[in-house]
Amino acid sequence: MIMIKSLNFKALIVSVLLLSAVLLGWYLATLPQAADTAAVDPEYAALMGGAAVKNSGMPTPAELGHTLRERLSDPFYDHGPNDKGIGIQLAYSLARVLAGFALAALVAIPLGFVVGMSPLMQRALNPYIQLLKPISPLAWMPLALYTIKDSSASAIFVIFICSLWPMLINTAYGVASVRRDWLNVAKTLEVSALRKAFRVVLPAAAPTILTGMRISMGIAWLVIVAAEMLVGGTGIGYFVWNEWNNLSLTNVIFAILMIGVVGMLLDLVFAGLSRLVAYND
């Protein structure tokens, strides 16, 4: 116990040291260049130096801190299409991810059950799965835009496609590898097919299915940024692209940070769910 505690403590110290080192390096790298300040009149530099760097170049840590405080204190304001709070943009992205993910789960889990339970379906569908799985989800975007004609729905479709495969494959694998003993118990108890599916196969395969869902969610959150950069309008991906066009690297870095935080929280949610259905054998 003491060992673990001290290990955690050491890890914390190292983490903090790493962060300080990165911040310090960043701070030093974004200091106004010595050569520039020496070459010009010190008074002019004092007047102009800071401001000139601030607007176009790399932000300093202090500037990022300022932006963070400002943007997080009012995350839900809405001043027209190009000026929304970070909370609203993230909410748009999350809504698309959740919609696409939920649709994918609705298709992938029942289909995975069928594939996992029936060797015939497994063989029949496997070539298609193998063929479709390696296609980058963004490659579907033009087709989606052409057929659906709605940019937001197209983004959802792309999320749907990219979430589908890990869930489908993991569900099929989990269902196919349910222990024979448990199925035999169900058989000797003359359990109906439906009861067997929900009371034996589903709980037995649940950890594997959840792993698939977790992978899917990770990929969906990766893909949504790119998808929104393409379709534009709203969402965190669009925000990043828009701020890049405004040449506001501070906001871009801020958005990157937020994407990371939300991705981490999503993963934590699925880690928690996994723990709920986990069992020791």
Binding site: V185, K187, L189, E190, V191
Partner: protein
């Protein structure tokens, strides 16, 4: 005792050889029958096909040839009439002890009320001595406790016949004794028909009415069927005192040590697989092979093992 509650006829199991290998004949032409209320054990070396036979009886495995008839009907699939205790305990690890048994009881009697299911399950949990562990998950139990849950689950559906695959293998001697006694008691009270696999000669002698001996595999067959001539109301404590005990025991051990192998190599030409020889070790045979009770006082009590 009517002798055809369960009838096994010409049973064979052959696994097709993989990639040019010869097919594996696990056992062939196995005949035996079990009477209602009879307790039959099967003994044989590992791999001779005992679990395979039990799975066929359970309806979980299909024989390559032959039929199993129970209660006048051919066994064609698993049924609630036959309760199985699996060699690996086969508990659902995500369910507690209580829920594991409830799953079986609810399958057997789907329209029972909740409290009735509960009290019925509790009764069988108490029976196997797991009172207090109802809400534990299988991973929190010892190997022996898990096996006891498996036994309680099979008993709880009150099947017409119990099929036990080495149910006490993982138990310590003390618990094993307690559960053996319970099993004896239940069988005596309910007239339960039981087919059980065991490796333990003493266990077979304590529990069973007849003991089927299998030769070594592959191509295993029934070598003979030993009739247990010990008194029917034997208990674990006094069974050793019967002089018959050591005669039967020696016969069984001798079979396991040497004859099971010898017979596998040189099949006895004279024996008819439809009627495997029934032997009563320690009792003299007359010319027809029918055992006579030993004359009183002729043999001294034997303790020379």
């Amino acid at each position: 005792m009517q002798t055809d509650f369960l009838k096994v006829e010409a049973l064979s199991r052959i696994y097709p050889g993989s990639r040019g290998q010869a097919p594996l004949v696990v056992f062939e032409n196995v005949h035996f029958s079990i009477g209602k209320g009879e307790f039959v054990c099967i003994i044989g070396h590992s791999g001779c096909g005992k679990s395979t036979i039990l799975n066929v009886l359970a309806g979980l495995d299909e024989p390559s040839a032959g039929v199993v008839i129970m209660d006048g009907r051919e066994v064609a699939g698993p049924s609630l009439d036959r309760g199985v205790v699996f060699q690996g305990h086969a508990l659902m690890p995500w369910l507690s002890v209580m829920k594991n048994i409830e799953f079986a009881v609810k399958s057997r009697w789907p329209d029972w009320r909740k409290d009735k299911v509960r009290s019925h399950c509790q009764q069988f949990i108490d029976l196997v001595g797991l009172t207090g562990a109802e809400h534990k998950k299988p991973s929190e139990l010892s190997g022996g406790m898990k096996q006891r849950v498996g036994i309680a689950r099979a008993f709880s559906i009150q099947p017409k016949m119990l099929l036990l695959d080495e149910p006490f293998g993982a138990l310590d001697a003390l618990t094993r004794g307690v559960i053996q006694d319970e099993l004896l008691k239940i069988c005596a009270a309910t007239g339960q028909t039981v087919f059980m696999i065991t490796h333990d000669v003493d266990e077979a002698m304590l529990l069973s009415d007849r003991i089927i001996l299998m030769t070594n595999g592959p191509r295993a067959r029934i070598a003979e069927i030993v009739v247990n001539t010990l008194s029917r109301n034997r208990t674990r404590n006094d069974v050793h005192k019967d002089p018959q005990y050591y005669r039967i025991r020696n016969h069984l051990v001798d079979f396991l040590v040497s004859r099971s192998r010898e017979m596998a190599q040189a099949p006895a030409a004279d024996s008819d697989p439809r009627h495997p020889p029934e032997v009563r070790p320690g009792e003299e045979m007359d010319d027809q092979g029918i055992a006579k009770p030993p004359p009183a006082q002729k043999q001294p009590a034997m303790h020379l093992v």
